[in-house]
């Protein structure tokens, strides 16, 4: 490997985020490589979504820095981060409700960084359809998002995130509330995306999914990293077991 590919895609540097007196993130340091499949676990309220919000730009940290592809993006707005290649899905799906599935993706294509490659509306439509086909939502392209099921909404969110052409995709509990077969479906999808040099941070409570998916797992508890490493090691860590099982 060359030195260039060794440089981390994302670097979180002593990140702190407090809400009033509550410390949501406490000196978080982590690096994520290009194309890495990274699992993020931790009990409810441990700071997972806050960390995602700090990475995607929905929140500003109180201290510390977020570096993406070598650039300090700590103070950039979420839309600029999206142009640089950070995309996310939301824990509770947030579709553009008055639009069809296809139009949701067209928003991403209209404002994505590589827009100049998609000169005409027809090109855009093709690009959106190819993402939808891949995710298995093509038959629903012209359907209003208001009529989608939970699993379809989550897929739509992933499709919309993919349409921005990301280098880093953050999936915030995309599988919560889905049946086993649906979990496998979404997981396969995420695995296939990981094969394309897109780094993926997956927040998840479903352990089999995390174990199967992740190259590395990080466990947060009360805003601190309590374990990071190979999935097996992290699961075997007594502090992780304590945090989850409360023994």
């Amino acid at each position: 490997m060359t030195a260039v590919s060794d440089a981390p895609l994302l670097r979180i540097d002593t990140l702190n985020k407090t809400f009033g007196g509550f410390v949501a993130l406490d000196n978080i340091n982590v690096e994520i490589r290009k194309g890495e499949r990274f699992g993020l676990i931790g009990p409810n309220g441990s700071g997972k979504t806050t960390l995602v919000n700090c990475i995607s730009g929905a929140l500003r940290p109180n201290k510390g820095a977020v570096l993406f592809a070598g650039e300090d993006i700590t103070l950039l707005s979420a839309n600029k981060r999206s142009h640089r290649g950070i995309a996310r899905s939301f824990q509770i799906p947030r579709p553009f409700r008055s639009m069809t599935v296809l139009e949701n993706l067209m928003v991403a294509l209209d404002f994505a960084a590589h827009r100049h490659l998609l000169e005409t509306e027809a090109h855009q439509r093709d690009a959106a359809m190819s993402v939808l086909t891949r995710i298995g939502l093509a038959p629903k392209a012209l359907v209003s998002t208001a009529t989608l099921t939970q699993v379809e909404l989550r897929k739509m969110e992933l499709a919309r995130a993919m349409a921005t052409g990301p280098k880093l995709l953050i999936s915030d509990e995309a599988m919560a509330g889905l049946s086993t077969s649906e979990v496998d479906e979404v997981l396969d999808l995420l695995m296939s995306l990981g094969g394309e040099d897109i780094a993926i941070i997956m927040i998840e409570h479903i352990m089999q999914a995390v174990m199967r998916f992740s190259e590395r797992v990080m466990c947060l508890d009360a805003g601190k990293i309590i374990a990071i490493g190979a999935p097996g090691e992290v699961m075997a860590n007594p502090r992780v077991q304590e945090a989850y099982l409360g023994t």
Partner: protein, 317 residues
């Protein structure tokens, strides 16, 4: 050019030609006097919809922008005896700047908080004008119309034609926004601002743009009112009725397409004009309120919601 575009531009030309011929061949001034008000409300409603409909930021300060248009015209007439064209242009610039300022100060607020801030704005500006002697203060100011320009034979007819031009400009701008990616971005941020931002939509910039354009058009639409009435006072120029009427017209027409506010304004302003003549000017406020309530209950998407069977058109119209 697409067929719908050709039809649109042909319609605009036919409309202006028809208005022009009316001014040349109709003797009676009254239709122009009443028609002016209807056209004015079309401009205001279409302009309002750009921010209030496309972006979903309900502006209750239409009267602030309208009054600023009126008083920009008054000031220019008093200070420089400026021509009508200059009055409208400068009013548009001032309205746009006001929109920018309001946007910078208030666009981080959502929903009802934004609306309240815009009401406050109207009160602040009205109070300022009320205490400004040069433009007439609280008592208002009489204005002398300059001689009418060829080929028009009366000032009201000329104003009618000018307001028709403003209608076309407002619709062209609204249509352009609606069909461009700006429109798609505004639409996205109306549905979900955070999701839009994370999908790459520069929400603050788009909202500011909508604020500037909407404000500029409302002020431009208000500017000729000074010469129309030959009188301006803060009470009438900043009347909250403008805000309420424009809101009702836009919502009754439907705010997802530029045709909505056009239909709403024509329907309501015409009704108001008829009621003012036949019953009284007070009743029209009552009718406005009743119609708004009926539409909110029975047709929340307005007239265009009733007209289009399918809930959502897939293509860009």
């Amino acid at each position: 050019m697409q067929r719908s575009s050709i039809l649109f531009w042909a319609g605009a030309v036919v409309f202006l030609a028809a208005v022009f011929f009316m001014t040349q061949f109709l003797r009676n001034e009254y239709p122009f006097f009443a028609g002016y008000v209807i056209l004015q409300f079309v401009v205001l409603s279409v302009a309002w919809t750009i921010l209030g409909g496309y972006a979903g930021y309900v502006n209750f300060g239409t009267n602030a922008f309208f009054g600023v248009g009126v008083y920009t015209a008054v000031l220019l007439v008093q200070a420089f005896a400026a021509s009508l064209g200059v009055q409208i242009l400068v009013a548009a610039v001032v309205g746009g700047l006001l929109g920018l300022g309001v946007g910078l100060l208030t666009l981080r607020m959502r929903g009802i908080f934004f609306s309240i801030a815009t009401i406050a704005l109207a009160i602040i500006i009205e109070t300022t004008i009320t205490n400004w002697r040069f433009v007439g203060g609280a008592a208002g100011i009489q204005l002398q119309r300059p001689p009418v320009m060829e080929p028009f034979d009366s000032y009201v007819k000329m104003l009618f034609f000018v307001q028709a031009l403003l209608v076309v400009i407002a619709i062209v701008v609204a249509r352009f926004i609606q069909n461009s990616r700006i429109g798609r971005g505004l639409h996205a941020l109306r549905d979900d601002e955070l999701a839009a931002e994370c999908t790459g939509v520069p929400t603050l910039r788009l909202k500011l743009l909508a604020c500037v354009i909407s404000g500029a058009l409302i002020s431009a639409g208000g500017a000729p009112a000074a010469m129309y009435l030959q009188f301006a006072n803060p009470d009438s120029a900043f009347n909250l009725n403008y805000s309420v009427s424009v809101l009702a017209m836009s919502l009754i027409g439907g705010t997802s397409h530029w045709i909505g506010p056009v239909l709403g304004a024509i329907l309501l302003a015409t009704t108001q004009q008829l009621l003012t003549v036949t019953i009284s000017s007070e009743v029209n406020v009552l009718v406005l309120g009743i119609m708004l309530v009926l539409f909110v209950i029975a047709a929340p998407k307005g007239i265009i919601g009733l007209l289009s069977r399918s809930p959502k058109k897939g293509a860009r119209a």
